[in-house]
Amino acid sequence: MTTTSSRVPEAVSISAELLPLITSRAAMRVHSAFDRSLNLVLEAPAPAWLPLGMITLAHEGVGNLPNGILVRGEAALRGLALMGGRALLDHGRLMLDGARIDLSGAPAWDPSLDGVCARGRSAGWKGRWASAWHALTRAVGEAPASPLWGLAAERVDRLADALERRALGEAVDAARQLVGLGPGLTPSGDDLLVGVLVAMHCGRASAGPDDGFVSAFGAEIRAMSRRTTDVSRVFLEWAAHGRATQRLRDVVEVVMMPQGEGRLGGALDAALRVGSTSGADGLLGLLMGLRLWTHEREEDHANAA
């Protein structure tokens, strides 16, 4: 199959996590195909650092992903390959049925939270998180409601409560009931847990080593991620390793920047536009994860008083 050059997407950005892979040769198959994203999985066993061996080719409007290659172009990505079809990564080129995409000139994007979160360590990070917490609360409150929460509000409340008390067993139990909960490809329960993991990881990166709660909770989420769809599972795994999507990472980054408040509204708005409710679900998770740290701050004040 051949395509006209005007319909060939142009790679505009690649996750830094994928750099070791794209400079090699790897056979892949098409896991799932949509207008704005195409999920590919390695045919060979996946290396430990690449959850499920999955990379995602996504339209630039989606924003960078921890396992993503962003492309610009008018063509619907589902038109470039059939589900179950073959794909090949060959030293900087991605070859699909309907397109050959040159990856060599695309800049790398870093999904790691460590750098942006550690940035705030010495400069009153808790205060900024506390301020951001109110902006997040407002943004989530004003977002369209996820239909899931009408059904699972009690489970969400239980998780929030357990996280705030750092009750690991209860938090894991509540999380187990949320993994995979929701109708679509990335169920709302997973979107929320991704947000929780991102916030927890960032708080730890800011505050230094924690008491093991964050790493233990992350390990438990990874273990239970088999209970959801492959695509969702990949996001959970990346988040448990402290790697976030661009939309969530941008929110975290502006919070961590001194005088970043002016950019917070734009970052929140972009995050809310992900999917129908995925953005709001992810931000709600971010809020819940932040309670782990902002709550601590309230206690600090109480103790100081």
């Binding site: 704005r36 059904l151 995979g180 909960l181 209970r227 995925s278």
Partner: protein, 532 residues
Amino acid sequence: MPTRHRVLRNLYRDSVTLMQLSSEIGSLEGVSQAFAFMGTPANLDLLRDSGVSIEGIQAKPNDLVIAVEASGDNAANAALDRAEEQLRKEAPETETAAQPTVPRSIAMGVKELPDANLALISTPGEYAAAEGLKALGKGLHVMMFSDNVSLEDEIRLKRMAHERGLLMMGPDCGTAIINGTPLGFANVVRRGGIGIIGASGTGVQQVTSLIDQWGGGISQAIGTGSRDLNEAVGAITMLDALDALAQDRSTRVIVLISKPPSPRVAEQVLARARQARKPVVIDFIGSTVRPDAPGIHVVDTLDEAAAEATLLGGGSIPELRPRDPSAGQDFGFAPGQLYLRGLFSGGTFSYESTLLLQRELGPIYSNTPVRPDLKLADPWKSREHTTVDLGDDEFTRGRPHPMIDYRLRVERMLQEAKDPSVALILLDVVLGYGSHPSPAEVLVPAVERARKAAKRGRRNLVFVASVCGTDRDPQQLSRQQSALERAGVILGRSNAEAARLAARVLCSLEGNVCHNGREGREHAGERGVSEG
């Protein structure tokens, strides 16, 4: 009802597509519920917790599951085929940034419409209070359609609105007409000098529609939400609305509608009504309060409220002489056919009918009874004389409201038709914005099917109904009434009249004990009910 399912291996669709599909398949003929979701354990658990059988569903997280509850295998298979066909098509994705901006918040909405002074909030209950606070904070009056808002939040919202000189209509406010604009479930009525304040959506619809039919008009119709006249809430919205209408020059007569308030709240409302310096008509449905004060006109039923207000507003009403549908009629009932089953979509219609029927027929069982001891043990099963509010939570969980979707009512009609002790089915039909686009098109075939079912048992069934609406409603009142009358349905001009007509039919039956001087023939010889 049996559940059928289909598992589509390794098929993915986004959540909006799946939710739309569930809704579309769920509205097919014979289907009561439909679900489309990824086959994760959490989703399957949720389905099971909702009371749907998941037996036999062998799905993995990457599989797409379609499950339907349907009246039979044919309906189920047709629905599953339709769903699969839709899913196999190249479904459009709904994701992300290239879409045009739509307001995602009250703040964004206000930015786009800076002159707006009212927010209509219809979100799941747990989010509604926060949205209400935001709207009030921005100086907007609020109509909150949402229910399941805590009483504490309702009081907080109403106090905040009161302090800011704003109206907090709701939570659970289904109907309002503000400056001539219908909001929620409302009818198309002409503007005029009668202002309505109601804690009941269908109550407001009945009164506004009858006033319109009789040539009158509405200045404002303000909903308060169903709990406003509770002791704890203290009628904050009704009192604020009374003040507003008392000052409104275009309002000449005020009508107040509610179920009976607590005595303290009733006294507060009456005291404020006396200060209005305008005639105030009060229908506290079922209340025995009879204040003797100039300008206060207490009535018993919604149609009386509409009539009184029309007359006080300088209009006239047609003669409302009671009819007796049983006079000279042989309904062809079989021995043992004694009972009434009232199947309502409007909560207030159900309550008003139950009160009126109970006065004539004695105990009426209901899911929303007038007396606690008459509560149905199982709302899905009738006993003796029964009225059911099908809009109550137990029937609407996971389903559209029965004013929109008649399937549940049709099923219940057929169920009642098979009961050999049932003689009469009483219905309400609510027209207007938000309601079913043409109820008669659903009800007429259902009436015919129910009659056929009864005929098979050598019985006849009588149907009595009222239609609430106007000729300018999208469904057109006269068109709906004509279709029902052609199908042999006896129509009351109001809900109350339909209840009284039903009582008269039943009081003509041997074996029924009737009150108010009317008894069945078994007890009163051959007198019957000809005195009306």
